[in-house]
C-alpha cells in the first residue's frame, strides 16, 4: 500500500471536523472539541504511517560518506582558490606542483565518493506523487492537483499534525466556558487542515491556495474576540500586511508560470537548472518576489508588524500561528523554492533579512512586559535564524530548526497560556512567584526556555548550531557573512537574555508594578489604534484580565505541555552529529546537508554554549540577583517600545494617503452614485404609481383605451407610410 492511498485523508479529517463543528457544533457542545481532537489524532496516526513509509522508501545516505564528501569538496574548493591565486602571482612550479597533484587525486576521488554516499537506492515510485486533472479545459494541462510526499513533506506533516493535536488538546481546558467554543475548534481544525494540505501539495498554485486559506483562518482566529476593538484592529492588520506580501508571491508565481509554463514542484525542480541557466536576473527577481510572500507570512523585518498584534487572539491560537502553522509556511515555501533560488542571487538577501530580523526581534523582546508579546518577538527572531540558514544553503539545518522550534515554541506559548490562565494577567511583572503555585508549568517552561536559548542537550541547541555551522561554511563568499555571523551570535546572546528575563520575572519574583506601566503601555498602544477612552474601558471589561492568586492548570492543559516538553528535549538528538545526523540525511534532497565532521563542530558547540550561558548569566545578574543594574537610555526604550516606529511609519506612508484618497471617493459614492441609483429607483416607482391610476377597473375606460390605442396605431402607420 503506497502512502498515496491514505495521505489525502490527513488534511481531510480535520477539514471534516471543521465542517461538522461549524454546522452543528452548538448541538455537540463540549463534544465538538473532542471530535476535533479525535479526527486530528487520526490524522496524526496517518502522518506517522506516512513518515514511516516515506522513510522506508527514501534513499538512505551514508552519514560518514556525506561528511567525507563535504570535507573533500571543501578541500577541493580551497585548493582551486589557492592555485588560481598562486598562478596569478606567478609562483614557482615547485610550489604549485604538489598542490595540483593533490587537487587531481581529490577530484578523481569525488565520483567514487559520490557513488558510495548512497547507502540504499530510493524505492521505485519515490517520491510518492499523484496527479489529478484540475481546471483542465479543452485538453490543456490546466493546473493539475496532486500530492508530493517526499521526506520534507512527510516530516512537516507529522510535525504539524502532532503539534496541532497537542494545541487542540490544550485548548479544551483553556477555552472552557467560552461563548463560541465549538466555532473556535472549527476554525482551529481548518487551520491545521490548510497547513497539512499545503505541505503535501505538489503544485505551487495549490500551495498558494492553502496559504491563503491559512491567512483567512488566522484572520478569524486572531479576531476571535471580535468584540474587542484591539482584536478587530489586529485581525485586519494581520490580514492586510500578509495580503500585501502575498501580492509579491502572486506576481512571483505568475512570472514563474510565464517562464516555465508550469507551477508543478516536481517539474520545476527538473526544469530550473536548464531554463534558468544564464537568466540569473529572472531567477533573482522571482526568488525575491517569493521571499516577499514568505516575509509577510513568516513575519520577517520589515513585514513583521502584524505578528505582535496577532497576540490579541486566544493563546492557543498564538501557539498555533507561531509554532505549527502560518509562520512555518514561509520557511517551507522558501525551502521548496530552493531549486529556483540557487540559480539567482536572492539567497544572500534572504540570509541578511533573516539575520537582521533575528537580531532586531531579539532586541525588541527585551522591551516588552507582556509574556505573549515577548514570545512573539522570539518567534520572529527564530524565524529570522531559519531564513538565515536557508540563505546560506543550510537547507536541512533550517528545516531541522523549523521542526524543533515548532515544539519548543508551542511549549512556551502553551506554557504562557497556562501562566495567563493561572494568574489572570499577561504582564510578567504582575505575575506573583508562579513557581510556588505552578510547579508543572514551571518545569515545562524551563525546558522550553532552555531549548530556545540553545543549551545542551535540548532540541534548540542542535538545530541552532546547525544553522550557525552553515553560515560559517558560507564565510568568505563575499556577501559580508562575517558580520552576519557576529550578528547571529549577538542574537543568540539576546535570546538567552530575554528568555531568562521572562522566566525570572514571571516565576521567581513577587509581583510588582511594571516598570513601564503595562497599563499605560496598553493605553498607548490603543491610542495608536485611535481608540477612545470609552472603547479602552470596553476592551478591558471584555478581556477580563485581573490578576488573582495563581493556581495550577488542569490535566488537559498540562498533558500537552509535558508531551511537548519531551519533544523539545529529545528531538534535537535526531539531528545531532552524535547519532549521525539522521534527520539531515533523511531530508537530504540534493542540497548540501552540512555534515561537517564532529571534530569541526566542537568549536561551534563550545562557542554557542558559551554565548548562551553568558546571556543567562547577564540576565541573572540583571533580573535575578539584581547585582547589576542597567538602565537603558530613555530614547532607546521608547524606540523599542514603539516597535521602531514602524507602525507609525506605515500609517503615515500607506494608511494616511489611502484615507485621503478614499475621502473624495466616499463623497462621490455617497453623493453622486448613491443618489443616482436611488433617483432611478424612485422615478420608476413614481411612474408606476401614475400608471396604476389608469388601472381603474372601469370597463368602458379600458375599451376607450383600446380604441384610442388602435386609432393612434393606424395614424402612426399612415404617417410612416407603412401599408400592405
Amino acid at each position: 500500500m503506497t502512502p498515496l492511498s491514505y495521505a489525502w485523508l490527513i488534511p481531510l479529517l480535520p477539514a471534516l471536523a471543521f465542517a461538522i463543528n461549524i454546522l452543528c457544533g452548538y448541538r455537540l457542545g463540549k463534544r465538538a472539541a473532542w471530535l476535533s481532537v479525535a479526527l486530528l489524532a487520526l490524522s496524526t496516526l496517518l502522518a506517522v504511517a506516512l513518515l514511516i513509509q516515506v522513510r522506508q522508501a527514501a534513499p538512505v545516505w551514508d552519514n560518514a560518506g556525506l561528511v567525507r564528501m563535504a570535507e573533500v569538496e571543501g578541500r577541493v574548493a580551497a585548493l582551486q582558490g589557492e592555485l588560481t591565486e598562486l598562478r596569478r602571482l606567478g609562483a614557482e612550479a615547485a610550489v604549485i606542483q604538489p598542490l595540483a597533484r593533490e587537487l587531481a587525486t581529490l577530484e578523481a576521488e569525488l565520483p567514487t565518493l559520490a557513488a558510495a554516499v548512497l547507502e540504499r537506492e530510493a524505492a521505485p515510485g519515490f517520491p510518492f506523487v499523484s496527479e489529478l486533472a484540475w481546471l483542465s479545459i479543452g485538453g490543456q494541462e490546466g493546473i493539475p492537483f496532486g500530492l508530493l510526499l517526499d521526506p520534507l513533506a512527510a516530516l512537516l506533516v507529522l510535525m504539524v499534525a502532532l503539534v496541532s493535536l497537542l494545541i487542540h488538546l490544550f485548548s479544551i481546558g483553556y477555552m472552557e466556558g467560552e461563548a463560541r467554543f465549538p466555532t473556535f475548534f472549527a476554525y482551529l481544525s481548518l487551520f491545521s487542515a490548510a497547513m497539512l494540505a499545503m505541505v503535501m501539495s505538489r503544485n505551487l498554485f495549490h500551495i498558494l491556495l492553502f496559504w491563503e486559506l491559512m491567512g483567512v483562518m488566522s484572520y478569524l482566529l486572531i479576531g476571535f474576540y471580535y468584540r474587542k476593538i484591539a482584536a478587530q484592529q489586529a485581525m485586519k492588520k494581520a490580514f492586510l500586511v500578509t495580503k500585501l506580501a502575498d501580492l509579491g508571491l502572486l506576481i512571483g508565481l505568475f512570472w514563474l508560470y510565464r517562464h516555465f509554463g508550469t507551477l508543478d514542484l516536481v517539474r520545476l525542480s527538473e526544469l530550473a537548472p536548464s531554463l534558468l541557466a544564464g537568466a540569473s536576473g529572472v531567477a533573482t527577481a522571482i526568488g525575491l518576489l517569493l521571499f516577499v510572500g514568505a516575509m509577510g507570512k513568516s513575519a520577517q523585518f520589515p513585514l513583521h508588524v502584524w505578528l505582535l498584534d496577532a497576540m490579541e487572539g486566544p493563546t492557543p491560537v498564538s501557539a498555533m500561528i507561531h509554532a505549527a502553522t502560518m509562520v512555518a509556511a514561509g520557511v517551507y515555501l522558501i525551502a521548496r523554492a530552493t531549486p529556483i533560488l540557487v540559480m539567482g542571487e536572492a539567497l544572500p538577501v534572504i540570509a541578511w533579512v533573516g539575520g537582521l530580523t533575528a537580531l532586531l526581534a531579539a532586541l525588541l523582546a527585551l522591551a516588552f512586559t507582556d509574556v505573549k508579546k515577548i514570545l512573539a518577538w522570539s518567534t520572529a527572531s527564530q524565524l529570522g535564524l531559519m531564513f538565515l540558514g536557508l540563505g546560506v544553503f543550510g537547507w536541512a539545518a533550517a528545516v531541522f530548526h523549523l521542526v524543533t522550534h515548532a515544539f519548543f515554541k508551542a511549549l512556551l506559548f502553551l506554557g504562557s497560556g497556562s501562566m495567563i490562565h493561572g494568574s489572570g494577567t499577561q504582564d510578567i511583572f504582575e505575575m506573583d512567584r508562579l513557581k510556588r503555585a505552578m510547579p508543572a508549568t514551571r518545569a515545562t517552561f524551563i525546558i522550553g526556555a532552555l531549548s530556545l536559548i540553545g543549551v545542551v542537550p535540548f532540541a534548540g541547541f542542535w538545530s541552532k548550531d546547525k544553522i550557525l555551522l552553515a553560515l560559517k561554511d558560507a564565510l568568505g563568499t563575499g556577501y559580508g557573512y562575517e558580520l552576519l555571523l557576529v550578528l547571529a551570535y549577538l542574537a543568540v546572546f539576546l535570546t538567552a537574555l530575554y528568555t531568562t528575563r521572562l522566566y525570572l520575572i514571571a516565576f521567581e519574583q513577587p509581583s510588582r508594578p511594571s516598570p513601564w506601566r503595562a497599563a499605560a503601555w496598553h493605553q498607548g498602544a490603543l491610542a495608536e489604534l485611535n481608540m477612545s477612552a470609552k472603547e479602552v474601558e470596553h476592551d478591558k471589561r471584555l478581556s477580563h484580565s485581573h490578576p488573582h492568586p495563581p493556581h495550577e492548570s488542569g490535566w488537559q492543559m498540562l498533558t500537552p505541555l509535558w508531551l511537548l516538553a519531551v519533544g523539545a528535549t529529545v528531538l534535537g538528538l535526531l539531528g545531532s552529529p552524535l547519532l549521525g545526523n539522521p534527520l539531515q540525511t533523511f531530508v537530504y534532497y540534493g542540497a548540501k546537508p552540512y555534515l561537517a565532521p564532529l571534530s569541526k563542530q566542537w568549536l561551534g558547540f563550545v562557542l554557542g554554549t558559551a554565548v548562551a550561558l553568558a546571556g543567562i548569566t547577564v540576565a541573572w545578574l540583571l533580573y535575578g540577583s539584581q547585582q547589576l543594574s542597567l538602565r537603558a537610555p530613555e530614547p532607546l526604550t521608547r524606540l523599542l517600545q514603539k516597535r521602531l516606529y514602524l507602525d507609525q511609519l506605515y500609517y503615515r506612508l500607506l494608511a494616511d494617503p489611502a484615507t485621503r484618497l478614499a475621502q473624495p471617493l466616499a463623497w462621490f459614492d455617497l453623493k453622486v452614485l448613491e443618489r443616482g441609483v436611488k433617483g432611478v429607483a424612485n422615478s420608476i416607482s413614481l411612474l408606476a404609481r401614475l400608471l396604476t391610476l389608469w388601472q381603474s377597473g372601469y370597463v368602458r375606460l379600458y375599451a376607450l383605451s383600446i380604441l384610442l390605442g388602435t386609432v393612434a396605431l393606424v395614424l402612426l402607420l399612415a404617417i410612416l407610410g407603412v401599408n400592405a
Binding site: Q695, G697, V699, R700, A703, L704
Partner: protein, 100 residues
Amino acid sequence: MLTLSHFLALAAVLFAIGLYGALTRRNLVAVLISVDIMLNAVLINLIAFARFTDNVQGDLLALFAVAIIAAKVAIGLSLFLNVFRHNGRATVEVLSRMKQ
C-alpha cells in the same frame, strides 16, 4: 353596381354603431350585442375582400370566426348571468367593482 367600397362602407358604419354601443350602453348584454355588431362588420370586410379578390381563404376565416363568436357569446352570457345572480343586475358598473 355593387363595388367593394359599398361593402367596406357598410362595414365601417356597422363598426361605428357597434363601437358606440359598446362604449355607451350600461347593460352588459347590450354591450355584448354591440361587440357582436363590431365583429360582424369585420366579417363583412373579410367576405367582401374574399369575394372581390377571388380568394376562398377569407370565407374560411369568416366561418371560423363565426364559430368562435358563438363560443364567446356563450361564455359571455353565462358570465353575465352569474354577475346578475350575484349582484341583482348586470351592468358595466358592477364589473368595475371586480378589482376590489
